[in-house]
């Protein structure tokens, strides 16, 4: 890679050992990608707290010292380095568990809870804004069109690229941390205009129009499009933000859609020609009845209709969706054999508290909680979990060992929470 003087200086350790290690990692990563140079970034989202493997951390860093943990697990550095302050504006993802609920509700280990507290304190000390969310764009990190970012979270990245028009690749824990320290990210992939054009046309014959349908569309297309950039056309009802959230999450679950275009909706797709960059795109797929059924079938694996848990809020719910849940559950009671959880971020939770939604959900027997995710509960593997999130339905078997997942409309999920039975179907 061709390095500028300031990049060489960072690599040589002139800004301290930690920055040097961060630059070293970024150079290795850039070369692995085949990038020629770096681009400056002042907008990063970290995966700093998502310790999926507390036992691995415990076995690797015996004394549990935070500088050593950060060096090994955030920077991939064998040498322990101390981070003073980060350089770029940076927000972060969840710390895995909620401090109040990790033990009795989430049933996670003390090791994990301890790591969560340590990481939050560490992030605060080095200047990371602890948004603790998978939906940073509703929690204080909203980039603008054309802005070079280094984002993590497979559901937020397509939102940044496609919906906002910002530019980011799918960064990981290590590369994003290094970008936060250096203000640099490889100039590759989505940072380059010509790589952002669509190269697969999706003829949408079954118009989506709600969160559930957008989720199915994203899940189907991601499973068949490889690394192509889909162009969705013939969308008759423009989506809302709340509809695009599960759509983006689905696209990063069954596949790896980090950029797409919706003709007439997203900022780089005013027309089909704008979306293709005036290129002749011959690769086409259709999304109709058959494709919609296939996505539904893959997301509905449960043989039992007795629902133990209803999980909503993945990605972290918007205030619009929380208000919707409160309206649907108001005056009803969650079934004695069923649990209802709704997740969002800290910022939106404050709005929900102020709006009385948290209380309405609690009165019905449900729980609205921040800082965590349905995939971060230690679920009984025999449980049946219903969700309105295609991402959760996709990951429950592989991540939590829960084979019985159900995906449906928000109304069907609330109905299941109240009756304890799944009556959802593809209409």
């Amino acid at each position: 890679m061709k390095l500028t003087d300031d990049e060489k200086s960072m690599l040589d350790g002139n800004e301290g050992k930690a920055v040097g290690k961060a630059m070293e990692l970024l150079v290795k990563y850039g070369e692995a990608l085949g990038a020629g140079r770096f681009v400056d970034t002042n907008n990063v989202t970290l995966l700093s707290g998502l310790f999926m493997y507390p036992e691995v951390v415990k076995n690797t860093v015996k004394n549990f010292e935070m500088d050593e943990i950060a060096s090994k697990f955030f920077l991939d550095s064998d040498e322990t380095v101390h981070v003073d302050k980060i350089k770029a504006f940076t927000t972060n993802h969840i710390f895995t568990v909620n401090n109040a609920y990790w033990k009795n509700i989430q049933r996670r280990s003390h090791t994990l809870a301890r790591l969560a507290v340590m990481t939050e304190a560490y992030c605060r000390a080095i200047g990371v804004n602890n948004t603790a969310t998978c939906s940073p764009y509703i929690a204080g990190n909203l980039p603008v069109k054309g802005q070079h970012c280094a984002w993590t979270e497979s559901s937020a990245i397509p939102f940044a690229n496609a919906v906002i028009g910002a530019r980011t690749n799918i960064e990981g824990c290590h590369s994003a941390f290094a970008s936060a320290l250096t203000g640099k990210t490889p100039y590759w992939g989505m940072h380059i205009e010509e790589n952002r054009y669509g190269n697969l046309i999706v003829d949408v014959e079954t118009d989506p129009g709600n969160m559930f349908e957008w989720g199915l569309l994203g899940y189907y297309v991601a499973g068949v499009c490889g690394l192509k950039i889909p162009i969705y056309r013939d969308i008759r009802r423009p989506p809302t933000m709340s509809m695009l959230m599960p759509f983006d999450a689905a696209g990063g679950s069954s596949g790896s859609i980090i950029m797409y275009h919706i003709v007439g909706v997203t900022p780089e797709a005013a027309t089909l020609e704008a979306a293709t960059g005036n290129r002749n795109v011959t690769d086409r797929i259709r999304y109709g009845k058959k494709e919609r059924s296939e996505a539904y079938r893959k997301l509905n694996r449960s043989k039992s209709d007795k629902v133990d848990i209803v999980f909503l809020g993945c990605p972290h719910y918007s205030i619009e969706s929380i208000a919707n849940v409160a309206r649907l559950i108001d005056g009803k009671a969650v079934n004695v054999n069923t649990q209802l959880y709704v997740t969002t971020n800290r910022q939106t939770k404050v709005l929900a508290d102020l709006g009385g939604y948290t209380e309405t959900i609690a009165k019905a027997g449900g729980l609205l909680l921040a800082d965590t995710c349905g995939l971060e509960f230690n679920h009984d593997p025999s449980a049946v979990i219903a969700t309105d999130s295609p991402k959760q339905a996709h990951y429950y078997p592989g991540k939590c060992g829960v084979e019985n997942a159900l995906y449906g409309q928000i109304e069907e999920c609330i109905d299941a929470a109240v009756s304890g039975k799944w009556k959802g179907e593809l209409r």
Partner: protein
């Protein structure tokens, strides 16, 4: 013994040889694998129930969570990483994952590795030279 040689480019330097584990499905290294064993856990995945540990892992492309590199690194710390990776198309997840997994990795080969390599073949990877040598089982 029939051998076949593919030529591509280095992602992460190093040499390794071992038995191939090949999938045509995109591979997720996070929330889709058990790091304590290296066994793939993703529902519906071609490799579900099989371990990537100590194999030459051949897959078309990465997918799924941006936690990919965390999973890749955790596999190394837990001692269940593959010996090397041969990837048809590299992108950010698999590139960063290969760096922190610290295993020889190659991509951009002159033939699709998921077509020409079969599970059980003996594969030698010389990532620096971009060479993958396949001996049929």
């Amino acid at each position: 013994m029939k051998t076949l040689t593919l030529k591509g480019r280095k992602v992460v330097d190093g040499t390794a040889e071992g038995e191939a584990l090949v999938t045509k499905d995109a591979w997720a290294a996070f929330m889709a694998i058990d790091v304590d064993t290296g066994v793939v856990t993703e529902a519906g995945h071609e490799l579900r129930g099989k371990s990537v540990a100590g194999k030459i892992l051949v897959f078309p492309r990465s997918k799924g969570s941006s936690g990919w590199s965390m999973g890749a690194q955790a596999l190394r710390f837990a001692g269940h990483a593959p010996l090397a990776m041969v990837v048809s198309e590299i992108h950010a997840q698999s590139a960063l994952g290969a760096v922190v997994m610290r295993v020889p990795t190659v991509t951009d080969l002159d033939m699709d590795p998921t077509e020409v390599i079969h599970t059980g073949d003996w594969v030698k990877v010389d990532a620096g030279k971009g060479i993958v040598e396949i001996t049929r089982k």
